[in-house]
Structure formats: C-alpha cells, structure tokens
C-alpha cells in the first residue's frame, strides 16, 4: 500500500468518511513528508503543524459521532501565501509583509475549511505573484521535484512543487497570467484557473484585479472538480463574483469525449514550441481523437498581441493595487523619520524586490498622464479582440488546446536577468486571463524527463466541458500517475 501522503484528495475524503483512515494520520503523513523533504524543495514558507493536527482530530471526532464534515473531509490543503488566513502570517513572498497576520480569512479558504479540509501551511511564491519561476520570492527559491536544478514554474511554484512531491494532495494557487497552470505543467500536476468571477477574490492579496482568479492544484481532474465545487460561488464580499450556478462537476467527469470538438490554433503554435513539448502535445491530441473527439483547426489572430496587452494591463492594475503597501497600516516601515514622502519611498524601496519594482514602474508609466489611452486603454481593447477570437472559435469547437508552456522547466537563474524573455514564456496562458475564460493544465507526458502540460481553455462558465474533456484524456493515459524521483 502506498503511503497516506500519496493519496489523492477524493480518496482521502472517501476513506476518512468511511472510517478507513483517520484524518489525523493523513495529516501527520503529509507533515512528515514536509519535514523530511522541504529543506531541499523549499515549497513551504510556513507549516501550520499543530493547528493542522488539531483540526484533523476534530474532523475525526465528527466522523466518529456520525456527522459528515463535508466533501473535503480530512483533506490536507496547502495555501499559496497570497491567501489570507486570520491570525496566520501572510507574506506574499515579500519582505514588506514580513510579520503581517491578516484580521480575516479569504472566502475560498473559509469554504475549504467549511467543507472539512485541513490547512497544512503556506507555500512559496514569486513576490506578490509576479513571476513565472518562484525565483522572485524574497525568502527562498523553490526547486522542481523532477530536477532540483530547475524551477517549479510560478508564481504558484510552492503549491505545485508541494503537490507534485506528495506533501499535500491539494493546494490553492492564484492565476493572473498562468500562475496556476504553468507551474502545474512544469511540476506534472493538474491546475485549474476558473472563469473570471467563479471564485471570490476576497482575502486574495490583489495583483491585477481584472485578471486574478483562485484555483486548485492537485494530482487528478477528479480532485480538481471536488475542490472547485467547494470554493466556487457568489460572495457578498467580492462584487465581481458571479451568481452563475455551478453545474455538478463530479457528474461532468463521467461525460465521454466522443463528439467533443477540440480546437487547435496551429498557426499560433508556430511561434516556437520546444520539440519534446510539441511531440507530447501532438500525442495528446492523437489520444483525444482516439477517444472519439474531433480535432478542428481554429484561428485566433489577435493572440500574438496577448503578451503586450497583458503586461500593460497587469502592471497598470498592480501599480494601483500595490499603492496600499506604504508602511502605514501593515507591513514593515522603513525610515520612520520626519518626512512622510520619504517614509513611503524608503519603505517601498526596501520592502519590494526588483521584479515588483519593475512592474510597478511599468504600470505607473502605462497609466501616467497622456499615456493611459495609448497603453492601458489600447490593451483593454486588445482584450476584446482576444475574447472575440475565442467566441468565434467556440462556434466551431468546445475547448481550445495548446501546450501550457512552450518549454519544460528551465534552470534556476536561466532567465532571471532577462525580464522580457521571462514574460514571453507566458504566451499560451495569458490569453485565458485576458478573455476571462477557464483553463486547465493536465500532465501529458515528459520531454527529456521533465513534465509537459496540455492546456485546455473553455467557454466562460463552462468548467463542466473543460473538466470532462480533461478527465477523458486523463483516463486514457497514465501521465497523471507519473511521480517525480524526489
């Protein structure tokens, strides 16, 4: 029998509810795995050991009484450190927020706990979720469990590495331009960015408010469906959260691929995809076809402009959102001298790392007097073109397939001196954020021993079809069962 830390989320919930295993033992197995491996991996910024065990014991007690603690009964969950938990340190990977303990809990996190989940700890991330490698964390790098010399992707790299290394069956991340799907792909796990508005952003430290969504990272599509069913839904604390009813995602997993139309934007893929990644992608399409799906060539002509639009919109919104970090209400204050402006300037100079400063400056530039129309507004119009491209494509297909990332995991330090090159690697993930659409990355094989992700993007609020197709692919292959040598 495999170790308890290797069980998936749905399996844990079933077995804890059936009194086959105790939530406390599963939690302890995950904590032991973290204790033995995380010094090498660097996935966690904070482990909430006693709190987790206490919570797990309460789940066990409820089960023993005959109560059902919920669909995530006893499932240990790791949280990207961008999500607020009342009274628990929340750093966003930044020195500026060192020591900050929020006075409230994020809605998505509260919903997980209400569904019976056990919070294990907070995971490492690029500072304020800005990055694609988790190298921008002010605290530590996180390593890819498939190859410790390589990055786990980012910005939710700690969550992806923790799930891939079986330190947690489930984690939450946030995705502004691919920050769930890309690290999921690079670490060989499943990651979902829901439709914009599906999950309340209350308690998620804001990066780019019109792009940010919270979503799960886990080791199967079934586990993703379980997590999404718990966290989605309207919330009075987030005016952009949607009241659109969530279909029964578990039932959606039973739908066959037969008759599904998979759109492939072949001309867009000519932009450059690493050979092993392209081979794995082509093989994934062949599998879907053999399962009865039809492949359709679709055109998304505005996508080559996605990166430029994304880095204007995201940084503009970030420059505004991060204005709140000024050393007054929370975080570390620098230079408490006599001059207020100097206090602001020094606090932000010392508190923010280079990537955050770069993006605040770029965003301030894009919003500066005389520039708003030329940059921010133009970029928002390009988003409309991209959304229109997808809407036209969805007349001919049910989901759009691409590789999640043009390359597998790169080496630590390989791209950190060249921001533009790092940004260009987000080419396949940013379109879904710009268009507000749901996307999933599922493992689809290896390139030179490193995981490759298949990305599917669906219609707005059609997570049902998205997860259904992903599940068919997963059942037809054993890529999701591959584990890193770590």
């Amino acid at each position: 029998m495999s170790g308890l830390h290797e069980l998936g989320a749905a399996e844990v919930a079933r077995r804890v509810r059936g009194r086959d295993v105790r939530a406390e033992d599963v939690t302890r197995a995950c904590l032991e795995r973290i204790a033995s491996g995380d010094a090498q991996l660097g996935a966690f910024l904070l482990v909430m050991g006693e709190r987790a065990l206490d919570r797990a014991r309460r789940v066990d007690a409820a089960v023993a009484r005959g109560d059902d603690p919920g669909p995530l009964c006893g499932v240990p969950v790791a949280l990207k450190d961008v999500l607020a938990v009342e009274g628990v340190a929340t750093t966003c990977g930044s020195r500026l927020l060192e020591g900050y303990a929020p006075p409230f809990t994020a809605t998505a996190v509260r919903r997980l706990e209400d569904a019976g989940a056990v919070l294990l700890g907070k995971t490492n991330m690029d500072e304020f979720a800005m990055g694609s490698s988790t190298e921008n964390s002010a605290y530590q790098p996180t390593r890819n469990p498939w190859d410790l010399t390589r990055v786990p992707g980012g910005s939710s790299g700690g969550s992806a590495a923790a799930v891939a290394a079986c330190m947690a069956p489930l984690a939450l991340g946030s995705d502004t331009g691919g920050s769930i799907r890309q690290p999921a792909a690079l670490c060989g796990v499943v990651g979902v960015k829901p439709t914009y508005g599906r999950v309340s952003r209350y308690g998620l430290v804001a990066f780019a408010s019109s792009l940010d969504q919270i979503g799960p990272l886990c080791r199967s599509v079934e586990d993703a469906a379980l997590a999404l069913s718990a966290i989605c839904g309207p919330d009075p604390a987030d005016s952009t959260s949607s009241a659109e009813p969530l279909p029964d995602l578990t039932a959606a997993l039973e739908a066959p691929a037969r008759g599904r139309r998979i759109g492939v934007p072949w001309s867009f893929l000519e932009q450059g995809v690493e050979a092993g990644t392209l081979a794995a992608f082509r093989e994934a399409l062949r599998v879907l076809e053999s399962e009865g799906a039809t492949l359709v060539d679709v055109s998304l002509p505005s996508l080559p402009h996605a990166i430029a639009a994304y880095y204007l919109v995201a940084t503009a919104e970030a420059s505004s959102n991060l204005a709140r970090f000024d050393g007054v209400r929370y975080g570390k204050r620098a230079d408490p001298g006599r001059d207020l402006a100097r206090m602001y300037g020094e606090t932000r100079e010392r508190g923010f790392g280079p990537e955050v400063k770069r993006r605040i400056l770029l965003g301030t530039f894009a919003l500066a007097s005389g520039y708003y129309d030329a940059y921010y507004l133009r970029a928002q119009k390009v988003r409309r073109l991209i959304r229109d491209d997808f809407d036209r494509a969805f007349a001919a297909c049910d989901v759009v397939a691409t590789p999640t990332s043009p390359t597998p995991a790169f080496r630590l330090g390989e791209k950190s001196d060249d921001p533009l090159q790092m940004y260009l690697a987000d080419i396949f993930t940013v379109p879904a954020n710009l268009a507000g659409l749901p996307g999933i990355s599922v493992p689809c094989g290896l390139s030179a021993g490193l995981p490759v992700g298949l990305q599917l993007v669906g219609r707005a609020f059609d997570e049902e079809t998205l997860l259904g197709v992903a599940r068919c692919f997963e059942q037809a292959t054993d890529h999701h069962a591959a584990r890193p040598p770590f």
């Binding site: 430029a308 400056l361 770029l362 500066a368 007097s369 133009r378 921001p419 533009l420």
Partner: protein
Amino acid sequence: MLDSPAMTRVDESVVAHVARLARIELRDDERRLFARQLAEVVAYAESLQALDLDGVVAFGGGGAAPAFRDDEARPGLPKGRALASAPDAADDLFRVPRVLP
C-alpha cells in the same frame, strides 16, 4: 514631462519620473537597470500602436455586473484588529510622520 506615445523612449529620466509617481526611492544602479529593461518591454509593447482599434469596446474581465448591496449599516473590522498589524499605532489611530512641516 513624458514624450508623446508615438516617440516613447524610456530612459533614466522617465524612470525617475515614474518612480516619483510610484513613491519608490530608487538607487542609482536600479534606475539605470530599470531604464534599460523597461525600454525593452515598452518597445515590445509598441506593436499595439499599429492596431486599428477604432470602435472596439474595452474588455475588463467579463465578471458579473457590479453588485450593490443595500445601504445598511453593519459592523466593520473592530479598531483593535485593524490596528494590530500597524507598524506604529497610538490612541486607536495609525501614526505617521507629520505631513506638514
């Protein structure tokens, strides 16, 4: 002030200007580095200037239409909890350096 968009060139003076707007006291070496890096990114983003976007309606994410709740008083965050993470607080207030000399 900044140039017109058609001839945008990001140099150290532009970076110094936006850093002032963003309230970040950059070091000299950072100003040089960011000028070079931001010039590259802005040059890349200039491709958007060639697009014909007349009549295109901006798209802001596609979330729900802003939902308004009833205008009823309800409890907010208690002062003590709001102040708990402040770097400097006194008398139930956030304390900051004086604004006027």
